[in-house]
Amino acid sequence: MRLDVTDLKVDYHNIAALKGISFTVPDGAFITMIGSNGAGKSTTLRTISGLVKPSAGTISVDGERIDRAAADKIVAMGISHVPEGRRVFKDLTVIENLYLGAFIYKDQDRIDRDLDEVYSHFPRLRERSSQQARTLSGGEQQMLSIGRALMSRPKVLLLDEPSLGLAPLVVQEIGEILQEINKNGVTVILVEQNADLALRLVDYGYVLENGRIIMSDKAENLANNDHVRKAYLGV
């Protein structure tokens, strides 16, 4: 599934958060957006998934406009968003969270097969399937959040800062799983402040500053770019 974003502008309370960005993500790609706080990365994802309405510009999937659709309809189109801060449903159990990820589907057998697949990515979730989500550790909650998104069988997976506040080992583990998911044919868009992690995982990257894309290139090129090295890799 190809994602086209054209001249996207977003205003938050009169402040321009996105000042017109355009990019295309080809089917099956794994890309990242890096940039500092407030650069517009999260806003980009939130606009794609329909949580925020753009003031101008278009978003389309395989040529079909989605920028006016409601968030729940966009999920049904195959775009799933793992929000920043995990946002699992804390009073529900792990399995209830996962079932809610498949809310748009009715076929119980198929849902259970999907569940098995998610469990195969994250065996720890299976162990804790009947626990309340609030009892999970940060890393487990992140896994649950990703697993929940996978339950909707996304063709495009949007991830917002999955490494936030996690131990390096867990970050490593999640990174590997993301690559696995991408290999299964899911387009992945990863937003990260941890530029180093992001650039090691993906094929292609965009650098956002102040609501604009200031640079885009293959990941290894970006990692070697002077500006990126200074600004985001601290070297």
Binding site: I15, S36, N194, A231
Partner: protein, 250 residues
Amino acid sequence: MAILEVKKLTKRFGGLIAVNDVSFSVDEGEIHGLIGPNGAGKSTTFKVIAGFLAPSSGDIVFRNTSIKGRKPFRIAKDGVVRTFQETTLFQELSVFENVLIGVHKEAKTDVFSAVLGLDRKRQVRASMDANQVIEFIGLSERKDQLAVELPLGFQRVLAIAVALASKPSLLLMDEPFAGMNPEETRHMMELTRKVRESGVTIVLVEHNMKAVMGLCDRLTVLNFGTVLADGTPEQVQNNPDVIQAYLGGA
């Protein structure tokens, strides 16, 4: 001489230990950086110092007095004032009014004086103070604009002006460079130095390494809620632990 000492500070949220036994001190007149990866406990430490969170244990000593557990407004009165990560301003008020609110200590009044106008002298002086700060920070030309109408960079500047108006001796700056372009970043760095030169000690929590390395006299690096390293920017940059954990071995 240390103006601020953080002693064995620990902060728990439920079972999670966000800050674990953190100690460091800030000398009078320096710009002290507090850095670390996301979730390292910087913001929590910062909030505890400014009184927005109560510490689980440990102590915070400002000018040899413990300010632990005091309310934020009280700590601000003592002279420790913070800025906010997001642009937190009185959006629908003008630049001047924003700064005027900052001049709280001197302009504070009671109902009787307010009604009878007995505080007029004090209010005039407060306006003068506000104007002075606006001039110092370089916003004179935009004095009557509404805060919401300012470009992002100027909003950040204004946020610092509001804080300065309350005459702090220690300014805690929370990611003032986030989302700024190089031009704005350069301007903000100059401004930060200027603030320090006016006699205010600064603690800076920041991700922007260029700014941190360029500005700070000393750095404290946090990781997983503990102090990983402490020292000058050069020392920290060359510390293998820091490179390993924080910069991820890049």
